[in-house]
Protein backbone atom coordinates (compact mmCIF):
# COMPACT_ATOMS: atom_id res chain seq x y z
CA UNK A 1 0.00 0.00 0.00
CA UNK A 2 1.55 3.31 -1.08
CA UNK A 3 1.75 5.75 1.80
CA UNK A 4 1.81 9.56 1.82
CA UNK A 5 2.31 12.21 4.50
CA UNK A 6 -1.09 13.88 4.62
CA UNK A 7 -1.39 17.57 5.45
CA UNK A 8 -5.12 18.28 5.91
CA UNK A 9 -4.81 22.04 6.49
CA UNK A 10 -6.91 24.20 8.81
CA UNK A 11 -10.13 24.21 6.75
CA UNK A 12 -10.42 20.43 6.82
CA UNK A 13 -10.54 20.35 10.60
CA UNK A 14 -14.06 21.71 10.72
CA UNK A 15 -15.42 23.77 7.83
CA UNK A 16 -14.53 21.11 5.27
CA UNK A 17 -14.54 18.05 7.50
CA UNK A 18 -16.50 16.18 4.82
CA UNK A 19 -13.53 16.61 2.47
CA UNK A 20 -11.26 15.15 5.15
CA UNK A 21 -13.52 12.15 5.78
CA UNK A 22 -14.13 11.40 2.12
CA UNK A 23 -10.43 11.75 1.26
CA UNK A 24 -9.49 9.14 3.84
CA UNK A 25 -12.32 6.78 2.85
CA UNK A 26 -11.73 6.89 -0.89
CA UNK A 27 -7.94 6.61 -0.79
CA UNK A 28 -8.22 3.64 1.55
CA UNK A 29 -10.72 1.96 -0.79
CA UNK A 30 -8.26 2.46 -3.65
CA UNK A 31 -5.26 1.07 -1.79
CA UNK A 32 -3.50 4.28 -0.75
CA UNK A 33 -2.70 5.28 2.83
CA UNK A 34 -2.76 8.90 4.01
CA UNK A 35 -0.83 9.29 7.26
CA UNK A 36 -1.65 12.62 8.89
CA UNK A 37 1.38 14.69 9.93
CA UNK A 38 1.33 14.61 13.71
CA UNK A 39 1.80 18.27 14.63
CA UNK A 40 1.25 20.27 11.46
CA UNK A 41 0.81 24.05 11.48
CA UNK A 42 -1.15 26.42 9.26
CA UNK A 43 0.58 26.93 5.88
CA UNK A 44 -0.37 30.62 5.74
CA UNK A 45 -2.87 30.28 2.89
CA UNK A 46 -2.62 33.32 0.63
CA UNK A 47 -2.28 35.61 3.63
CA UNK A 48 1.19 35.33 5.25
CA UNK A 49 2.76 36.14 1.93
CA UNK A 50 1.34 39.65 2.29
CA UNK A 51 3.72 40.15 5.16
CA UNK A 52 7.00 38.35 4.84
CA UNK A 53 8.20 35.86 2.27
CA UNK A 54 10.97 34.21 4.31
CA UNK A 55 8.70 33.65 7.28
CA UNK A 56 5.90 32.41 5.04
CA UNK A 57 8.24 29.87 3.45
CA UNK A 58 9.57 28.82 6.86
CA UNK A 59 6.09 28.04 8.18
CA UNK A 60 5.42 25.92 5.11
CA UNK A 61 8.85 24.29 5.45
CA UNK A 62 8.09 22.99 8.96
CA UNK A 63 5.29 20.80 7.58
CA UNK A 64 7.42 19.60 4.68
CA UNK A 65 10.29 18.79 7.05
CA UNK A 66 8.03 16.53 9.13
CA UNK A 67 7.09 14.60 5.98
CA UNK A 68 10.72 14.39 4.91
CA UNK A 69 11.67 13.02 8.32
CA UNK A 70 9.15 10.21 7.79
CA UNK A 71 10.55 9.64 4.30
CA UNK A 72 7.13 10.21 2.75
CA UNK A 73 5.88 12.31 -0.16
CA UNK A 74 3.61 15.20 0.85
CA UNK A 75 -0.04 15.50 -0.12
CA UNK A 76 -2.43 18.41 0.50
CA UNK A 77 -6.16 18.42 -0.36
CA UNK A 78 -6.43 22.24 -0.34
CA UNK A 79 -5.23 24.12 -3.41
CA UNK A 80 -3.62 27.00 -1.51
CA UNK A 81 -1.80 24.63 0.87
CA UNK A 82 -0.61 22.63 -2.13
CA UNK A 83 0.64 25.67 -4.02
CA UNK A 84 2.55 26.93 -0.99
CA UNK A 85 4.08 23.53 -0.23
CA UNK A 86 5.05 22.90 -3.85
CA UNK A 87 6.97 26.16 -4.23
CA UNK A 88 8.67 26.20 -0.84
CA UNK A 89 9.87 22.67 -1.49
CA UNK A 90 11.34 23.60 -4.86
CA UNK A 91 12.97 26.81 -3.54
CA UNK A 92 14.87 24.64 -1.03
CA UNK A 93 16.73 22.98 -3.90
CA UNK A 94 17.05 26.08 -6.08
CA UNK A 95 18.27 28.61 -3.55
CA UNK A 96 21.02 27.71 -1.08
CA UNK A 97 20.84 31.02 0.70
CA UNK A 98 17.11 30.77 1.40
CA UNK A 99 17.51 27.11 2.38
CA UNK A 100 20.16 28.08 4.94
CA UNK A 101 17.87 30.70 6.52
CA UNK A 102 14.99 28.27 6.68
CA UNK A 103 17.05 25.42 8.10
CA UNK A 104 18.46 27.74 10.76
CA UNK A 105 14.89 28.50 11.86
CA UNK A 106 13.79 24.86 11.68
CA UNK A 107 16.55 23.93 14.19
CA UNK A 108 14.27 25.36 16.89
CA UNK A 109 11.97 22.40 16.30
CA UNK A 110 14.75 19.84 15.62
CA UNK A 111 13.84 19.67 11.95
CA UNK A 112 15.58 20.17 8.63
CA UNK A 113 14.50 20.22 5.04
CA UNK A 114 16.40 19.38 1.88
CA UNK A 115 13.43 19.59 -0.48
CA UNK A 116 13.88 16.22 -2.15
CA UNK A 117 10.42 14.81 -1.43
CA UNK A 118 7.56 15.18 -3.92
CA UNK A 119 4.60 17.47 -3.24
CA UNK A 120 1.17 16.56 -4.61
CA UNK A 121 -2.33 17.92 -4.57
CA UNK A 122 -4.72 15.19 -3.48
CA UNK A 123 -6.33 15.13 -6.92
CA UNK A 124 -2.93 14.19 -8.46
CA UNK A 125 -2.96 11.01 -6.41
CA UNK A 126 -6.21 9.98 -8.11
CA UNK A 127 -5.25 11.29 -11.56
CA UNK A 128 -1.67 10.03 -11.73
CA UNK A 129 -0.73 7.57 -9.00
CA UNK A 130 -3.97 5.58 -8.83
CA UNK A 131 -5.14 6.47 -12.34
CA UNK A 132 -8.56 6.47 -14.01
CA UNK A 133 -8.28 2.80 -15.08
CA UNK A 134 -7.90 1.54 -11.53
CA UNK A 135 -10.72 3.80 -10.35
CA UNK A 136 -12.97 2.43 -13.10
CA UNK A 137 -12.24 -1.15 -12.01
CA UNK A 138 -13.16 -0.39 -8.40
CA UNK A 139 -16.41 1.47 -9.13
CA UNK A 140 -19.45 -0.46 -7.91
CA UNK A 141 -22.12 2.21 -8.41
CA UNK A 142 -21.34 4.11 -11.61
CA UNK A 143 -22.72 7.64 -11.48
CA UNK A 144 -24.45 7.08 -14.82
CA UNK A 145 -26.15 10.10 -16.33
CA UNK A 146 -24.99 12.47 -13.57
CA UNK A 147 -23.80 15.71 -15.12
CA UNK A 148 -20.89 17.03 -13.08
CA UNK A 149 -19.03 20.32 -13.56
CA UNK A 150 -15.31 19.77 -12.87
CA UNK A 151 -14.34 22.99 -11.15
CA UNK A 152 -10.54 23.21 -10.99
CA UNK A 153 -10.36 26.67 -9.45
CA UNK A 154 -7.06 28.47 -9.57
CA UNK A 155 -4.15 27.22 -7.51
CA UNK A 156 -4.24 23.53 -8.51
CA UNK A 157 -3.21 24.47 -12.01
CA UNK A 158 -1.59 27.86 -11.40
CA UNK A 159 1.10 29.10 -11.25
CA UNK A 160 2.48 26.61 -13.76
CA UNK A 161 4.70 24.08 -11.99
CA UNK A 162 6.41 22.11 -14.69
CA UNK A 163 5.32 23.15 -18.17
CA UNK A 164 1.91 21.49 -17.79
CA UNK A 165 -1.33 22.48 -19.55
CA UNK A 166 -2.92 25.32 -17.59
CA UNK A 167 -5.53 26.68 -20.01
CA UNK A 168 -7.56 23.55 -20.64
CA UNK A 169 -6.52 20.75 -18.28
CA UNK A 170 -8.39 17.45 -18.61
CA UNK A 171 -7.40 15.34 -15.60
CA UNK A 172 -10.48 16.24 -13.53
CA UNK A 173 -12.80 15.22 -16.39
CA UNK A 174 -10.97 11.90 -16.68
CA UNK A 175 -11.52 11.18 -12.99
CA UNK A 176 -15.24 12.02 -13.21
CA UNK A 177 -15.64 9.84 -16.28
CA UNK A 178 -13.88 6.97 -14.50
CA UNK A 179 -16.72 7.20 -11.93
CA UNK A 180 -19.17 6.70 -14.79
CA UNK A 181 -20.43 10.31 -14.71
CA UNK A 182 -20.68 12.86 -17.51
CA UNK A 183 -18.15 15.66 -17.10
CA UNK A 184 -19.70 18.80 -18.56
CA UNK A 185 -17.62 21.27 -20.46
CA UNK A 186 -17.73 24.83 -19.15
CA UNK A 187 -15.55 27.75 -20.09
CA UNK A 188 -14.82 29.02 -16.60
CA UNK A 189 -13.56 25.79 -15.05
CA UNK A 190 -10.26 27.40 -14.01
CA UNK A 191 -11.64 30.87 -13.26
CA UNK A 192 -11.07 32.06 -9.70
CA UNK A 193 -13.90 31.75 -7.10
CA UNK A 194 -12.73 34.90 -5.34
CA UNK A 195 -10.82 33.11 -2.58
CA UNK A 196 -10.54 35.16 0.58
CA UNK A 197 -11.87 38.27 -1.18
CA UNK A 198 -15.21 37.22 0.21
CA UNK A 199 -13.97 38.56 3.53
CA UNK A 200 -11.92 41.49 2.32
CA UNK A 201 -13.84 42.68 -0.75
CA UNK A 202 -17.27 41.17 -0.67
CA UNK A 203 -18.64 42.99 -3.71
CA UNK A 204 -15.90 41.68 -5.98
CA UNK A 205 -16.17 38.15 -4.60
CA UNK A 206 -19.96 37.88 -4.94
CA UNK A 207 -19.65 39.08 -8.51
CA UNK A 208 -17.01 36.42 -9.26
CA UNK A 209 -19.14 33.69 -7.67
CA UNK A 210 -22.21 34.89 -9.59
CA UNK A 211 -20.42 34.66 -12.94
CA UNK A 212 -19.21 31.14 -12.14
CA UNK A 213 -22.63 29.91 -11.03
CA UNK A 214 -24.15 31.35 -14.19
CA UNK A 215 -21.60 29.62 -16.42
CA UNK A 216 -21.96 26.32 -14.54
CA UNK A 217 -25.77 26.42 -14.72
CA UNK A 218 -25.72 27.23 -18.44
CA UNK A 219 -23.49 24.21 -19.03
CA UNK A 220 -26.31 21.94 -17.87
CA UNK A 221 -24.43 20.60 -14.84
CA UNK A 222 -26.51 19.17 -11.99
CA UNK A 223 -23.72 19.26 -9.42
CA UNK A 224 -20.30 20.90 -9.07
CA UNK A 225 -17.23 18.91 -8.04
CA UNK A 226 -14.48 20.85 -6.26
CA UNK A 227 -11.02 19.99 -5.01
CA UNK A 228 -10.51 22.90 -2.61
CA UNK A 229 -12.28 23.87 0.64
CA UNK A 230 -12.41 27.56 -0.19
CA UNK A 231 -13.96 26.92 -3.62
CA UNK A 232 -16.58 24.70 -2.00
CA UNK A 233 -17.56 27.27 0.63
CA UNK A 234 -17.61 30.19 -1.78
CA UNK A 235 -19.69 28.39 -4.40
CA UNK A 236 -22.08 26.70 -1.99
CA UNK A 237 -22.52 28.75 1.15
CA UNK A 238 -22.71 32.07 -0.69
CA UNK A 239 -25.35 31.01 -3.22
CA UNK A 240 -28.06 32.52 -1.00
CA UNK A 241 -26.24 35.84 -0.90
CA UNK A 242 -25.61 35.82 -4.64
CA UNK A 243 -29.33 35.18 -5.13
CA UNK A 244 -30.25 38.12 -2.89
CA UNK A 245 -27.71 40.38 -4.53
CA UNK A 246 -28.46 39.55 -8.18
CA UNK A 247 -32.09 38.38 -8.04
CA UNK A 248 -31.14 34.87 -9.19
CA UNK A 249 -32.35 31.49 -7.91
CA UNK A 250 -29.30 29.23 -7.90
CA UNK A 251 -29.56 26.05 -5.85
CA UNK A 252 -26.89 23.80 -7.28
CA UNK A 253 -25.16 21.27 -5.01
CA UNK A 254 -21.40 21.65 -4.62
CA UNK A 255 -19.53 18.56 -3.42
CA UNK A 256 -15.90 17.53 -3.05
CA UNK A 257 -14.81 15.19 -5.84
CA UNK A 258 -13.92 12.65 -3.16
CA UNK A 259 -17.54 12.59 -1.93
CA UNK A 260 -18.81 11.78 -5.43
CA UNK A 261 -16.08 9.19 -5.86
CA UNK A 262 -17.01 7.63 -2.53
CA UNK A 263 -20.59 7.13 -3.73
CA UNK A 264 -19.29 5.51 -6.93
CA UNK A 265 -17.16 3.20 -4.80
CA UNK A 266 -20.23 2.20 -2.78
CA UNK A 267 -19.18 3.92 0.46
CA UNK A 268 -22.02 4.97 2.81
CA UNK A 269 -22.89 8.71 2.43
CA UNK A 270 -22.48 9.34 6.14
CA UNK A 271 -18.84 8.20 6.02
CA UNK A 272 -18.29 10.74 3.24
CA UNK A 273 -19.74 13.62 5.24
CA UNK A 274 -22.74 13.89 2.91
CA UNK A 275 -25.50 15.70 4.79
CA UNK A 276 -23.48 18.71 6.01
CA UNK A 277 -24.19 20.76 2.87
CA UNK A 278 -26.34 23.87 2.94
CA UNK A 279 -27.74 23.19 -0.57
CA UNK A 280 -29.74 19.93 -0.56
CA UNK A 281 -27.88 17.12 -2.31
CA UNK A 282 -29.86 14.02 -1.41
CA UNK A 283 -32.73 14.40 -3.93
CA UNK A 284 -30.14 14.32 -6.69
CA UNK A 285 -27.87 11.66 -5.24
CA UNK A 286 -30.42 9.22 -3.81
CA UNK A 287 -30.43 7.22 -7.05
CA UNK A 288 -26.79 6.29 -6.38
CA UNK A 289 -27.13 5.45 -2.71
CA UNK A 290 -27.68 1.81 -1.98
CA UNK A 291 -30.76 1.24 0.13
CA UNK A 292 -29.98 -0.27 3.47
CA UNK A 293 -31.28 -3.82 3.76
CA UNK A 294 -33.69 -4.00 6.67
Amino acid sequence: MKKYAYFPGCSLEKMAVSYHKSSLETTQALGVELEELEDWNCCGATTYFHLDEILANTLVARNLAMAEKEGLDFVAPCSACYKNAYFTNSYMQEDEDLAEHINFALEADDLQLSGDIKVHHLIDIFADDIGPETIKDKVTTPLEGLKIAPYYGCQIVRPRKNGEEVENPQFFEEILEAMGADAVDFAYKTRCCGGSLLLTNRKAALDMIHILLQNITNSGAEVVATACPLCQVNLEVYQTQVNEEFGTDYAIPVLYFTQLMGLALGIAPKKLGIGSELVETLPLLSQFIEKEVS
Binding site: C10, E13, M15, A16, V17, E38, D39, W40, N41, C42, G44, A45, T46, T47, Y48, F49, H50, L51, D52, E53, I54, L55, T58, L59, R62, F87, H101, F104, A105, L106, A108, D109, D110, C154, Q155, R158, P159, R160, V166, R191, C192, G194, G195, S196, L197, L199, T200, N201, R202, A204, D207, M208, I211, V237, Y238, T240, Q241, S276, E277, L278
Partner: protein
Amino acid sequence: MADKLTFSQEISNLMYEGHGSPLKNCIQCGTCSGTCPAVEFMDQTPRRLIGMINADLKDDVLNANTSWVCASCYHCTVRCPAKIDIAGAMYATKRYSMWNKTYSDDLVGPVFSETFMKTIVRSGRSYEPILAPTYIFGFGAKEFYQEVLGATKMMLKGRIPVLPPRIKRIKNFRNMIRHIIPMGDEE
Protein backbone atom coordinates in the same frame (compact mmCIF):
# COMPACT_ATOMS: atom_id res chain seq x y z
CA MET B 1 27.79 56.26 -1.01
CA ALA B 2 25.18 53.96 -2.46
CA ASP B 3 22.41 55.58 -4.44
CA LYS B 4 18.95 55.60 -2.92
CA LEU B 5 16.76 52.86 -4.37
CA THR B 6 13.97 53.93 -6.66
CA PHE B 7 10.41 52.82 -5.85
CA SER B 8 10.40 50.32 -8.71
CA GLN B 9 13.66 48.81 -7.40
CA GLU B 10 12.19 48.56 -3.91
CA ILE B 11 9.13 46.71 -5.25
CA SER B 12 11.33 44.38 -7.31
CA ASN B 13 13.40 43.61 -4.22
CA LEU B 14 10.24 42.44 -2.46
CA MET B 15 9.50 39.93 -5.20
CA TYR B 16 11.30 36.75 -4.27
CA GLU B 17 8.42 34.65 -5.58
CA GLY B 18 8.64 36.37 -8.94
CA HIS B 19 12.43 36.41 -9.19
CA GLY B 20 13.86 36.09 -12.66
CA SER B 21 11.02 38.01 -14.29
CA PRO B 22 11.77 41.73 -13.97
CA LEU B 23 8.84 44.14 -14.10
CA LYS B 24 10.92 46.20 -16.52
CA ASN B 25 10.19 43.57 -19.20
CA CYS B 26 6.53 44.62 -19.29
CA ILE B 27 5.41 45.44 -22.84
CA GLN B 28 2.08 46.99 -21.70
CA CYS B 29 0.04 44.54 -23.79
CA GLY B 30 -2.82 44.33 -21.28
CA THR B 31 -3.18 40.53 -21.31
CA CYS B 32 -3.18 40.67 -17.49
CA SER B 33 -6.00 43.21 -17.35
CA GLY B 34 -8.04 41.27 -19.90
CA THR B 35 -7.57 38.06 -17.91
CA CYS B 36 -8.16 39.34 -14.39
CA PRO B 37 -11.55 38.24 -12.98
CA ALA B 38 -11.55 41.10 -10.45
CA VAL B 39 -10.35 43.91 -12.72
CA GLU B 40 -13.59 45.90 -12.67
CA PHE B 41 -13.24 46.38 -8.90
CA MET B 42 -9.72 47.80 -9.18
CA ASP B 43 -8.89 51.54 -9.21
CA GLN B 44 -6.12 50.83 -11.71
CA THR B 45 -5.86 47.77 -13.95
CA PRO B 46 -2.87 45.45 -13.45
CA ARG B 47 -1.32 46.72 -16.70
CA ARG B 48 -1.55 50.32 -15.55
CA LEU B 49 -0.25 49.47 -12.07
CA ILE B 50 2.88 47.83 -13.51
CA GLY B 51 3.39 50.82 -15.80
CA MET B 52 3.04 53.11 -12.80
CA ILE B 53 5.54 51.09 -10.75
CA ASN B 54 8.02 51.22 -13.62
CA ALA B 55 7.51 55.00 -13.82
CA ASP B 56 8.14 55.28 -10.04
CA LEU B 57 4.73 56.85 -9.46
CA LYS B 58 4.86 55.73 -5.84
CA ASP B 59 1.89 57.65 -4.43
CA ASP B 60 -0.42 56.69 -7.28
CA VAL B 61 0.52 53.03 -6.90
CA LEU B 62 -0.02 53.04 -3.14
CA ASN B 63 -3.30 54.95 -3.36
CA ALA B 64 -4.76 52.34 -5.72
CA ASN B 65 -6.68 49.43 -4.20
CA THR B 66 -5.46 47.18 -7.04
CA SER B 67 -3.13 44.82 -5.19
CA TRP B 68 -5.67 44.30 -2.39
CA VAL B 69 -8.36 43.33 -4.90
CA CYS B 70 -6.05 40.65 -6.35
CA ALA B 71 -7.25 37.21 -5.21
CA SER B 72 -3.89 35.55 -6.09
CA CYS B 73 -5.38 33.32 -8.79
CA TYR B 74 -2.27 33.64 -11.00
CA HIS B 75 -4.25 33.72 -14.23
CA CYS B 76 -2.30 36.81 -15.34
CA THR B 77 1.00 35.21 -14.33
CA VAL B 78 0.57 32.13 -16.54
CA ARG B 79 -0.53 34.22 -19.54
CA CYS B 80 2.01 37.07 -19.43
CA PRO B 81 4.00 36.99 -22.67
CA ALA B 82 6.89 38.75 -20.89
CA LYS B 83 6.82 36.02 -18.23
CA ILE B 84 6.32 38.48 -15.37
CA ASP B 85 4.83 37.02 -12.20
CA ILE B 86 2.14 39.69 -11.95
CA ALA B 87 0.40 38.11 -8.95
CA GLY B 88 3.87 38.13 -7.34
CA ALA B 89 4.12 41.87 -8.05
CA MET B 90 0.72 42.36 -6.36
CA TYR B 91 2.10 40.56 -3.27
CA ALA B 92 5.20 42.78 -3.35
CA THR B 93 3.04 45.91 -3.45
CA LYS B 94 0.96 44.58 -0.55
CA ARG B 95 4.13 43.91 1.47
CA TYR B 96 5.45 47.38 0.74
CA SER B 97 2.21 48.98 1.94
CA MET B 98 2.04 46.74 5.04
CA TRP B 99 5.60 47.49 6.10
CA ASN B 100 5.33 51.20 5.46
CA LYS B 101 1.72 51.45 6.65
CA THR B 102 0.77 53.30 3.52
CA TYR B 103 -2.50 51.48 2.82
CA SER B 104 -5.73 53.43 3.06
CA ASP B 105 -7.97 52.96 6.10
CA ASP B 106 -11.00 51.75 4.19
CA LEU B 107 -9.25 48.56 3.10
CA VAL B 108 -10.06 45.38 5.02
CA GLY B 109 -7.24 43.31 3.49
CA PRO B 110 -4.29 44.64 5.52
CA VAL B 111 -6.04 44.31 8.90
CA PHE B 112 -7.26 40.85 7.97
CA SER B 113 -3.71 39.77 7.03
CA GLU B 114 -2.27 41.11 10.25
CA THR B 115 -4.89 39.41 12.43
CA PHE B 116 -4.48 36.16 10.51
CA MET B 117 -0.74 36.31 11.09
CA LYS B 118 -1.11 37.00 14.82
CA THR B 119 -3.50 34.06 15.16
CA ILE B 120 -0.98 31.71 13.56
CA VAL B 121 1.92 33.00 15.65
CA ARG B 122 -0.17 32.50 18.80
CA SER B 123 -1.53 29.03 18.15
CA GLY B 124 0.01 27.56 14.99
CA ARG B 125 -3.37 27.14 13.31
CA SER B 126 -5.97 29.44 11.82
CA TYR B 127 -9.36 29.88 13.47
CA GLU B 128 -12.18 31.51 11.55
CA PRO B 129 -14.18 33.05 14.46
CA ILE B 130 -11.17 35.17 15.54
CA LEU B 131 -10.89 36.55 12.02
CA ALA B 132 -14.54 37.58 11.67
CA PRO B 133 -14.30 40.92 13.55
CA THR B 134 -11.61 42.16 11.14
CA TYR B 135 -14.11 42.39 8.30
CA ILE B 136 -17.65 41.99 9.61
CA PHE B 137 -17.94 45.42 11.27
CA GLY B 138 -17.20 47.10 7.96
CA PHE B 139 -20.33 45.52 6.51
CA GLY B 140 -23.66 47.26 6.09
CA ALA B 141 -26.67 45.97 8.06
CA LYS B 142 -27.84 43.68 5.26
CA GLU B 143 -24.41 42.11 4.68
CA PHE B 144 -23.89 41.73 8.43
CA TYR B 145 -27.19 39.87 8.70
CA GLN B 146 -26.38 37.66 5.69
CA GLU B 147 -22.98 36.78 7.13
CA VAL B 148 -24.36 35.90 10.56
CA LEU B 149 -27.11 33.83 8.97
CA GLY B 150 -24.57 31.96 6.83
CA ALA B 151 -22.34 31.31 9.84
CA THR B 152 -25.31 30.07 11.88
CA LYS B 153 -26.28 27.60 9.17
CA MET B 154 -22.67 26.37 9.02
CA MET B 155 -22.59 25.99 12.79
CA LEU B 156 -25.81 23.95 12.77
CA LYS B 157 -24.15 21.61 10.28
CA GLY B 158 -21.10 21.31 12.56
CA ARG B 159 -18.85 23.25 10.23
CA ILE B 160 -17.63 26.02 12.57
CA PRO B 161 -15.03 25.19 15.25
CA VAL B 162 -16.02 25.99 18.81
CA LEU B 163 -12.56 26.09 20.37
CA PRO B 164 -9.44 27.52 18.77
CA PRO B 165 -7.04 24.72 17.75
CA ARG B 166 -3.43 24.81 18.95
CA ILE B 167 -0.42 22.80 17.86
CA LYS B 168 1.48 20.70 20.45
CA ARG B 169 5.03 21.97 20.01
CA ILE B 170 3.94 25.59 20.14
CA LYS B 171 7.09 26.73 22.04
CA ASN B 172 9.41 25.29 19.39
CA PHE B 173 7.16 26.77 16.73
CA ARG B 174 7.35 30.24 18.23
CA ASN B 175 11.12 29.96 18.70
CA MET B 176 11.36 29.00 15.03
CA ILE B 177 9.55 32.21 14.12
CA ARG B 178 11.98 34.16 16.36
CA HIS B 179 14.82 32.94 14.16
CA ILE B 180 13.24 34.91 11.30
CA ILE B 181 11.50 37.95 12.82
CA PRO B 182 12.01 39.82 16.10
CA MET B 183 9.42 38.67 18.64
CA GLY B 184 10.93 39.02 22.13
CA ASP B 185 13.03 36.47 24.05
CA GLU B 186 13.03 32.70 23.56
CA GLU B 187 10.41 30.71 25.49
